[in-house]
């Protein structure tokens, strides 16, 4: 039930913010901040209750779940469930959610109520994506988060906002519909072999598929997630959307929306179609590596700061793709850290760039020079996150990329070497930003206010968290481990992979994992 409340709080806060926005500009902000903070606290409490995996591991697959019949005629359930993976993603969601509300405090002055309505509903949709284990519900939430994001970009974005918003919407919608077809095909195939209509994740896991069909369906899911991730060559929407969005929009896009793609691959693509995912792994890993290098090179070539940061996402998320398809323990742990650390460091970079734009009204690096002299604190913070992006040991991103590379090394040496080259290029673009925009003489004679209290309130915790992940990531691994083992178990090669009429899914209780208890624990 608590899971439903998490979503409901956000939705209600969104509506309240929209309503109060008609007469006030501060009410929507306060309401949104309050709602996300409450959710954040709840998620932390949940985490502290479930931080040790030894305690709960054998009893249930999920820490918490809620399962209501929704459209019983089609076997559709309103089924939310949480394991270590979704828990960590949720904590990240609320953390970045709070930051987004804070960062928009001054930036957004027009239509404040509607802005916060959209913000809250995006977060609600993302939350739903991380929690849904009914495929219909998952698709529902997947689509739900798009519309408010569209508005966020199209209304409060920068110069080419409408182009960017439409492009974003079309890319994600088309890929989403392909996933819908795959979901439905899986649903009907599952029905034809078992006689049960179900969209339930656990039911569909062992569906007997012919290799050809499995590959097609896997690709349907894969494309939807690859567009979100974004994977080369499905990334063209990303630079536009990130660049044109308001700061809060960029933070949520980079920090959370992209993660839904990686999450979907982890949760659905590999476990549902282990055989074809394994077969497809070389292609996916190569595409991931291309993304790493290509994104880094393009980032290096940008003069628009925000666009540069946007392209780094293509590069960093390439590691996630490589790690997911390497699919061993090290790589998966690496992917988790990449997801979280990238969310925080890139989110922070977008906020800093947004702050710069607010002060200077430009994002062009050539027009910014020698800023260190006038905004030393801001420049220092920028330096910190740029270093994180490079993968400086001691900061979160390093742990993620290092583990991913270790995992990938076991699968393919070539891929690993190429990915390391990508890291090298990331040094180039990060240093370029620092050098061009912050070092040197202040030739344009900028005289700007440094980071204020509100901004420090945002930046300092994010720096601390990144340091914490970089130095002591073990709590994250502990929480993630049971979920990861479960995913690996689902994806383990199964003896029955060919079409046998009437074949039932394999029971997975052989390893102590009982069938999900359908009632609320």
């Amino acid at each position: 039930m608590i899971l439903v409340w998490l979503i409901v709080i956000l939705m209600v806060a969104g509506i309240l913010a929209g309503l109060t926005g008609r007469f006030s500009t501060s009410w929507p902000r306060v309401i949104s901040l309050l709602a996300v903070s409450i959710d954040f606290v709840i998620s932390l409490v949940l985490w502290s209750q479930n931080s040790s995996y030894v305690k709960l591991f054998p009893q249930s697959d999920w820490f918490k779940q809620v399962d209501w019949a929704w459209v019983p005629q089609y076997g559709i359930h309103f089924h939310l469930a949480m394991d270590g993976l979704s828990l960590l993603m949720i904590v990240l969601t609320f953390l970045l959610g709070i930051m987004s509300v804070l960062i928009s405090w001054r930036e957004i002055q027009e239509g404040v109520g509607f802005f916060h309505f959209n913000l809250m509903w995006i977060l609600a949709g993302i939350l739903g994506v991380f929690l849904a284990v009914d495929l219909f519900l998952f698709y529902f939430m997947w689509e739900l988060m798009l519309v408010p994001m569209f508005f966020l970009i199209a209304i409060w974005g920068h110069e080419r906002r409408i182009y960017a918003a439409v492009k974003f919407f079309i890319f994600t919608q088309l890929s989403g519909l392909l996933m819908l077809i795959a979901i439905l095909a899986l649903y009907f195939i599952h029905h034809s072999t078992t006689g049960i209509y179900s969209f339930e994740y656990q039911d569909l896991l062992g569906t007997a598929l012919t290799p050809h069909m499995a590959m097609l369906l896997m690709l349907g899911f894969f494309v939807a997630f690859a567009v979100k991730l974004p994977m080369f060559p499905f990334h063209p929407w990303l630079p536009d959307a990130h660049t044109e969005a308001p700061t809060a929009g960029s933070v949520i896009l980079a920090g959370l929306l992209l993660k839904t793609g990686a999450y979907g691959m982890l949760r659905f693509v590999v476990p549902l179609f282990p055989g074809s995912a394994h077969e497809f792994a070389p292609v996916a890993m190569v595409l991931g590596v291309i993304g790493i290098i290509y994104g880094a090179i393009l980032a290096f070539g940008q003069t628009d700061l925000k666009r540069l940061v946007a392209y780094t996402s293509v590069s960093h998320l390439g590691f996630a793709l490589v790690g997911i398809f390497a699919w061993n323990e090290l790589a998966l742990e690496g992917v988790l850290i990449v997801m979280i650390a990238h969310g925080i460091s890139t989110g922070a970079l977008f906020m800093l760039v947004g702050g710069l734009q607010e002060r200077t009204h430009t994002r062009e690096m050539d027009r910014l020079r020698g800023l260190w002299a006038t905004v030393p604190v801001m420049s220092g913070v920028m330096m910190f996150f740029a270093m994180a992006s490079i993968g400086l040991p001691g900061l979160g991103d390093f742990v993620g990329e290092f583990l991913t590379l270790l995992g990938a090394y076991r699968v393919s040496l070539g891929v690993t070497i190429a990915a390391v080259i990508g890291i090298l290029i990331s040094t180039l673009y990060s240093l370029k930003v620092i050098q061009r925009a912050f070092h040197g003489p202040n030739t344009h004679e900028w005289s700007l206010p440094d980071l204020g209290k509100r901004e420090l309130l945002i930046m300092v915790p994010m720096m601390l968290i990144l340091l914490w992940i970089g130095l002591y990531p073990q709590p994250l691994f502990n929480t993630f481990k049971p979920a990861m083992q479960k995913l690996q178990l689902y994806a383990a090669p199964k003896p029955v992979m060919t079409m046998v009429p009437g074949a039932r899914k394999l029971p997975y209780d052989q390893n102590g994992l009982a069938e999900t208890n359908r009632s609320e624990p």
Partner: protein, 484 residues
């Protein structure tokens, strides 16, 4: 015909009486409000009379009409949609010059025709219902006869509908000539058993009938009239054409092709597949080129009928369910969308250019919000009825493995996003950009129209979030359809 039969067709009788009562009342005293109240009362009475009728269903009343759960469900839908149309018309016509009362007589007549259509399982009642509906629609489209566009719409519709009716009649005649029966049930038996029958005339007959039906549904290549009529007709009438007239025809299409088993014929399947694909592609692509909201909605309706045909082709109970559900969602959405158009229209012209909607959000946030929801529903985005409807359509199609058709549906509906988004973007454009700052005094909306729109919005979200009860009612209704 006995007492039970009369109870069974009570909804039709009530509608007939209501039309007469309104006509007489208009003769005695011309009052817009009185006419509206009488019409609404008549519609409410007709709606209530569905329950006594349901108590005696299923009933075959004369060879012409069958009153079963399916027919009654669609009648309910038609009556409800008519109810909303009347409310919208009231606010709309208050702003117009000239007499308004006669429109309600026409609306009631058209609703009657459509109701007969959904209850017919005989060529005669089919044609009768169709003509009652069409004749009323000619006059309704041209109701504002001092403006050029409605006149053009009326004439165009008159000529083309008459021609298509001739096609339909000819098709019926050919089938009758071959099989010697006008009843759907008997046609089914003969189509299946009649290996010995000479069948040469069946296909030409079916082809001609499909022409007639296709015209009414406005599917490609029989869609030419749609944009002009949608654009020209007064907004509430357009809403009526898009919902009641098309909905009645879809109901008949399902009954005719499913009960006769004609949808199983390979050639029929091929023809409908081509029509569906052409409608989806042409509807969505042509809508991209339009600048007029009513025309955009016209082309989008062509595409939507194409989507419906995809599920129709899947065949079986699930398909009928999906089609019916989609229609319910489509009714709500279309009425809502045209409702917004009609409450924004004034005495001189309809609010049909995209410019009329620019920055609407900053002037009238609630109305813009409603329009947004309607557009999102048309585009099939979650939380709205259109999403669930589209989901069921795709589900029906994939249960029959119509992958090619589904693929076209998916790709074209993404194309469709472009023009829905275009309107959306216009709605939210900032006032400084468009120079349309909030006017000093915002003219207030008609109260009746606001209530209707609020109701539709609630319904739209309700169906979109919790479709189970609606689906159950639809399943119950569709189960009475005798599939062959």
């Amino acid at each position: 015909m006995n007492g039970t039969d009369l109870i069974a067709i009570l909804p039709l009788l009530v509608l007939t009486v209501a039309a007469v009562v309104v006509m007489v009342a208009v003769c005695i005293r011309r009052s817009h409000l009185l006419a509206v109240w009488l019409t609404l009362l008549g519609l409410a009475a007709a709606f209530v009379s569905l329950w006594p009728a349901a108590a005696v269903a299923p009933a075959q009343v004369t060879p012409l009409l069958v009153i079963d759960g399916y027919a009654l469900f669609y009648m309910g839908l038609i009556i409800a949609a008519t109810f909303v149309t009347v409310i919208l018309s009231y606010g709309y016509l208050e702003n117009q010059e000239g007499y308004s009362e006669e429109l309600y007589i026409l609306i009631l007549t058209a609703a009657l025709g459509s109701s007969v259509l959904v209850a017919s399982n005989h060529f005669v009642s089919f044609f009768l219902g169709l003509e009652v509906l069409s004749v009323a629609l000619y006059a309704m489209s041209a109701y504002l006869c001092n403006r050029p566009l409605p006149l053009e719409a009326g004439i165009k519709y008159l000529v083309l509908a008459a021609v298509s009716a001739a096609f339909l009649l000819f098709g019926m005649a050919l089938i009758y000539a071959q099989l010697g029966t006008l009843q759907f049930g008997q046609i089914a038996a003969m189509l299946i058993s009649g290996a010995s029958y000479e069948k040469t005339l069946i296909y030409p007959g079916l082809a001609l009938m499909i022409t007639g039906i296709g015209f009414k549904l406005a599917v490609v290549p029989f869609h030419m009239w749609t944009p002009d009529v949608y654009e020209g007709a007064p907004a509430p009438v357009t809403a009526f054409v898009a919902t009641v007239s098309k909905g009645g025809m879809v109901a008949l299409l399902l009954r005719y092709f499913y009960e006769t088993g004609a949808y199983r014929l390979h050639r029929v399947f091929v023809v409908f597949s081509i029509i569906a694909i052409a409608s989806m592609i042409a509807g969505n692509l042509l809508a991209l080129l339009q600048n007029n909201v009513k025309r955009i909605l016209a082309y989008s309706s062509i595409a939507h009928l194409g989507y419906i045909l995809v599920a129709f082709l899947a065949g079986g109970n699930r398909a009928a369910e999906a089609v019916t559900f989609y229609l319910v969602a489509y009714f709500v959405t279309t009425l809502g969308a045209f409702g917004v158009v009609s409450v924004l229209s004034n005495g001189e012209r309809d609010a049909d250019s995209i410019e009329d909607y620019e920055s609407l959000f900053w002037r009238r946030p609630v109305l813009a919000g409603i329009f947004t929801l309607m557009l999102l529903s048309l585009a099939g985005i979650p939380l709205t009825a259109g999403f669930v409807g589209k989901f069921f359509l795709i589900a029906a199609g994939s249960s029959a493995s119509l992958w090619g058709l589904i693929f076209v549906l998916v790709v074209t509906s993404v194309v469709g996003l472009f023009y829905y988004l275009r309107i959306l973007v216009a709605l939210y454009r900032s006032p400084e950009e468009t120079g349309k700052a909030a006017p000093a005094a915002v003219p207030s909306l008609s109260l009746s129209g606001s209530y209707a729109l609020a109701g539709l919005t609630v319904l739209l979200v309700w169906i979109g979030v919790y479709p189970a009860p609606f689906l159950e009612a639809i399943q119950h209704a569709v189960s009475t359809l005798r599939l062959f």
